[in-house]
Amino acid sequence: MAVVKLKRPKLNFGEKIYFGALIKGFLLTLKHAIKSILGKSIGADSLASSGLGVTMQFPEQRWDTHLPEYYRGAPALVTDEQGRERCVSCQLCEFICPPKAIRITPSEIPANDKWAKVEKRPLEFDIDMTRCIYCGMCEEVCPEQAIFLRKDYLITGRSRADMLHDKKRLYEIGGVRTGLVNKWNELK
């Protein structure tokens, strides 16, 4: 391996004096300062700034309309357009959840029910939001397209009980989702 001898670059007189570089520096920072105050910083419009710099000042402005398609918010269970709750309590999401935030108690669908073919549905379905890391593994692994991650990120509560989303709350957040594969319907 050849040894490369490095030498300090020789500065010319103007560079040694350093005042020119200082003045250029001042003009640069002043330019940034003036543009920030006027609200015209580079990237202010694309980052939806509040008018001072590029900062979006949080509670007054939100970025809910700028969330990308793939944003992972809070998980929720969905009902489909036929009014059936999609979850069959296979517990795959419970087993894959990295912080083990999901707890499911499976139960039976009685034989006289319209959907008796499906055989299982959850009795209890709890997601502990203080454990959830919003990774989306539950959505990826679900074979029934029953659990989806929504776009809400402000999950707050005043007690630990508030932060435990039970089945009723999950279906409430999830709502109805159309366009899913209805594999349990009768063959045509």
Partner: protein, 418 residues
């Protein structure tokens, strides 16, 4: 009884000027620092620390544009646990912060804040101590703050504060030379060290750096004043940069920056003592700006021949022109503090050997030569042409010699491995 009255007036002046004008400028400059540097960095800065009006029953908190932030910082530092580590030398540990703050606040005495005001027929100068050695007093007293930093670094009994203390001491001592030498041209020009008289002369005959009026008439300056502008400008530059170095402020803040030395000489200090160091640094910055404004930019003078008119403003027998001048002085001071902040967030810090070389080799020589140049220009009307030319030739020769000596005594950059 008149003595009691004069003592009372003096006390009022001390309390008003030190504790109601200069000391509030410290949290104001902290606030401006955080806001201005935020705006430079395309962000917002603290703008939410308001008064929690909802606690008092109102509907919404009012944010006061973040002006409560420095008060919040002060309250935090006040309420923090103030402990003394076991391994420090207690006496000097406790003494050091006071030695940093007290000199900075004492030097407020000699700064002229405004022209005299008249209340009930009694004229009062807006300066606590109108002594005839203004700048010398400031330099002498602010040298005491070097002790504060040295003791802080040494008594902390720990490696990094010690290095920070030593570096800071050496830096401050080095730049005191150029500090003192650089303003000799100004003192030669005005022939007087009394700061109040210097400002009065600048109000009448043009600021040192902007000599556009004389004796009440606007107009371009004569040849001597124009020529004197060159050493005055060089003095301004050297003095300003030396003030940066004296207050340990960027780009000279190697002794106390976080990436180099944890906290430098104030690593081992907690709440109130740290607050005192902090206040001392910002108070020194305020005093430095005040000195620069007083000596070079006209102090409290509004300039452009408006000062006489302002001095005559009155309501009945209360002449309040001095208060208008006080406000002008504060405005100029704040502009200069903003310049300090701009420099901090623009210029990267100097390496320690570059810093020392700047102080001892470059500024020392430049200030010395500046003194001779200024003396030549000031004395020129009284000298014959032959003496002036001889003087100029000698000056050029001496400058060339000094530059040549500095250049050949520089170390050659050594290759990394033989």
């Amino acid at each position: 009884m008149p003595d009691l009255l004069s003592i009372a007036i003096l006390l009022v002046k001390i309390i008003a000027l030190t504790f109601c004008v200069v000391l509030p400028l410290v949290p104001v400059s902290v606030y401006f620092e955080r806001r201005f540097c935020a705006v430079i960095q395309d962000r917002v800065g603290p703008n939410r620390t308001g008064i929690p009006l909802t606690l008092l029953g109102f509907k919404k908190d009012f944010h006061f544009f973040g002006l409560i932030q420095p008060i919040a910082d002060g309250v935090k530092l006040f309420l923090k646990e103030d402990f003394t580590p076991v391994h420090v030398r207690k006496t000097f540990y406790w003494l050091a912060p006071m030695l940093t703050v007290a000199p900075a606040l004492i030097t407020v005495c000699v700064i002229p804040f405004g022209s005299p005001i008249t209340i009930f027929g009694h004229t009062e100068k807006l300066i606590i101590a109108d002594i005839d050695i203004g700048p010398l007093f400031v330099f002498a007293v602010s040298s005491l703050s070097v002790y504060g930093i040295t003791l802080a670094g040494w008594s902390s009994n720990s490696k990094f504060p010690f290095i920070g203390g030593v570096r800071s001491t050496a830096q401050m001592i080095s730049y005191e030379i150029s500090l003192g030498l650089s303003i000799i041209p100004v003192l030669l020009y005005y022939g007087d060290l009394n700061l109040g008289k210097i400002v009065q002369q600048q109000a009448d005959n043009g600021w040192l750096l902007l000599p556009l009026w004389k004796n009440g008439h606007l107009g371009l300056p004569d040849l001597q004043t124009t020529l004197f502008w060159i050493p005055a400008f060089i003095a301004f530059i050297i003095f300003t940069i030396s003030i940066f170095a004296e207050t340990n402020r960027m780009p000279f803040d190697l002794p106390e920056c976080e990436t180099e030395l944890v906290g430098g000489y104030h690593t081992e200090y907690s709440s109130m003592k740290f607050a005192l160091f902090f206040m001392g640094e910002y108070a020194a910055m305020v005093i430095g700006s005040a000195l620069i404004v007083t000596l070079f930019l006209g102090g409290w003078s509004v300039g452009f021949t408006a000062d006489k008119w302002i001095n005559n403003l009155h309501i009945g027998s209360f002449q309040f022109g001095g208060l208008v001048h006080l406000v002008t002085f504060l405005v100029k001071l704040i502009v200069f503090i903003l310049f300090f902040i701009l420099v901090r967030w623009t210029v990267p810090r100097f390496r320690y050997d570059q810093l020392m070389k700047l102080g001892w080799v470059i500024f020392f020589e430049a200030a010395l030569i500046n003194v001779f140049l200024a003396a030549l220009i000031i004395a020129a009307p009284q000298l014959t042409a032959s003496i002036i030319t001889t003087g100029a030739v000698l000056l050029v020769a001496v400058t060339a010699t000094v530059i040549w000596v500095a250049r050949i005594s520089e170390d050659k950059p050594k290759p990394l491995r033989a």
